[in-house]
Amino acid sequence: MTENEPAHVLLIEDNSGDADLVRRRLVESNSGVQVNCVPRLSDALACLDVDTPALVLLDLNLPDSHGAETFRRIRQKAPDVPVVILSGQDDPALAMKAVHQGVQDYLVKGDVTGKQLERALCYAVERQGLLRSLEIARQQQLEFKNQFLSHVSHELRTPLTCIHQYVTLLLDGLAGPISPDQTDHLKTVFKSVNQLHAMIRDLLEATRVDSGKLRIERRCVDIGELIQQAVAMMRPAAAEKRIGLEVGVDRSIPLVHADPDRALEVLINLIDNGIKFTPPEGSVVVKAAMVETDPASVYLSVSDSGRGIPQASLPRVFERLYQDPGRVDGNRTGLGLGLYIAKEIVTLHGGRMWVASDEGSGSTFSFTLPLYSLAKLLFPVIVHQGHLREALVLVRVELTPLCNSLRGSWKETCARCLDLLRRCVYVDKDLVLPPMAGSGPVETFFVVASTDMERVGIMMDRIRGQVGALAPLQSSGTLRVTAEPIPAPPDADPRTLEQQVWGVADYVTGIIQQDLCNGHS
């Protein structure tokens, strides 16, 4: 389409008379354009597979596609190629719709001369090129912003660390005795350093969210345990403001499939907010419950007796950098990224987060997390040709660290053992269950194996041989592999296959839960 190079146009037109007319007009205008004409959408899509034309000239009504659907399919196939519609119908509404969906022009057959057609095509190519460079520039800006924030956060950390180090040296009396007043002032500095640290962390986290780099590692989580952990961490802050921190957890809640560190982050964030916005002597309540209408999720909520959020602000609280407009001096709220990050974490888990508030009486932040559905994972493995496998065995692989093992490297060792373990089993017959989130250092992995107690020994030997031979494990921990049969349902069981799988899943879940309760893993 440019002046110096001959361009080629893909003309999609089923009427051979019209096709010839367009070709003649383009030739008349002496533009040196090569025209490749196909009569059907399917032919056009095949052409676009092997070649990228400078422009697509499109009739909307083809033997195998009609109207808006035609250009939608072309746009989907070749988003960067400019599309000009050449239609028999003068339909302004359809034309506008096409333009909104990214079509460069809508021309009506018979209305345009060769020169006009050539100009229209030429400008369409230019417009598309401009749009493309704008999009590239936008992406570069986004990337630059993320790199900038990431760089700045890291650079801020070094002087912050220095302040942290010297303030703690003074506070700990390592530079000589300090007076009670000095202690008090230094504690204020220390508190501010920690706030600054939290802001830098949030800034990095939000950058990660924006660039799609936030990752979650799901495990089986006892949500009641996690709530207790979060509450224990926030109790001192609540006590300082004389705020009651209560927990209401239904003990019968099944295991949740979530990243325990991230879920804890969400809970702490919500509880921290609750404490911040509740006046002294108020209360913050954390609850977890099942809801009948949504049996695949657990519902968690954090309610406070604070002053609530104005109705008009409710839709905005999860936005980036949202700040409470009514905050009073002295109540530092941070960057306004916490709720934004929390909501993103929940969304990544496939859950939802929302808020309800009555101005003057408090707010309730709620979110859902998916339940750990063992049955769904087990079904393809323990069902063979429409029947439950004859024998099933639960293999337990316990990794116990030596007393002096370090937390960081032990975690890494366990992750490598899990990788190896996955290679010790048959993908279609055995299932290595997702790891569990426990509080202790012992890591337990479970394998549901489609075999009987006599033959499971082969797998256990393989695990002992391969996982047991891993050098980091040998130097920092011990391995124990045991197996127990999973009881088969009675022969004359009238239950459906799904119910049988549920039965197996319930049995295995029961054992895992018992393990978690016993403080194993």
């Binding site: 990431s150 890291h154 950390r157 070094t158 912050l160 660390t161 220095c162 942290h164 180090q165 010297y166 703690t168 040296l169 700990d172 390592l174 530079a175 350093v193 640290h197 990095l204 990660r208 780099k213 990752r215 030596l402 002096n404 093992s405 370090l406 937390r407 960081g408 490297s409 890494e412 130097s475």
Partner: protein, 145 residues
């Protein structure tokens, strides 16, 4: 090669020697002060090259290592330490301003025993240092029991 010694008195024989590798002089000094206050001896170096040379000379029982360093970054130091049998067994704790994501896994795979992001909790860091020294002595490492 630059070294800093804040404790001119000869060290008692049973104190463990810790080498601090960090390019920020203020941080080196603060960390040294805290380690000394907790009955450790310290040797400070400021770059990756000096780290190896000083480790050979001083045979520390433990190394605290920053990742962003001139003359060979922390990863290069970890790799180089492995080249010398006498140094390969010294436990290394990485203490860096960098993000744990990506770096934590890589440092542990490169032979470090623990990863801390700055600013680290002092008590937590000291706990890991003590655990490392015990483990090292349990393995028959350099630290006398």
């Amino acid at each position: 090669m630059r070294t800093e010694n804040y404790n001119p008195a000869p060290p008692p024989r049973n104190r463990a020697k810790i080498m601090v590798v960090d390019d920020d002089p203020d941080l080196r000094r603060a960390l040294s002060l805290r380690l000394r206050a907790n009955d450790f001896d310290t040797v400070n170096v400021c770059d990756g090259y000096s780290a190896i040379a000083m480790a050979q000379k001083e045979k520390p029982q433990l190394i605290i290592l920053d990742l962003g360093l001139p003359a060979g970054d922390g990863f290069a130091v970890l790799k180089n330490l492995q080249q010398y049998p006498a140094l390969a067994l010294i436990p290394v704790i990485v203490l860096t301003a960098r993000d744990p994501e990506g770096n934590e896994k890589r440092t542990l795979e490169s032979g470090a025993v623990a990863f801390f992001q700055k600013p680290a909790d002092n008590e937590e860091l000291l706990g890991v240092i003590r655990a490392c020294l015990q483990t090292a002595s349990g393995w028959g490492g350099g630290f006398p029991a």
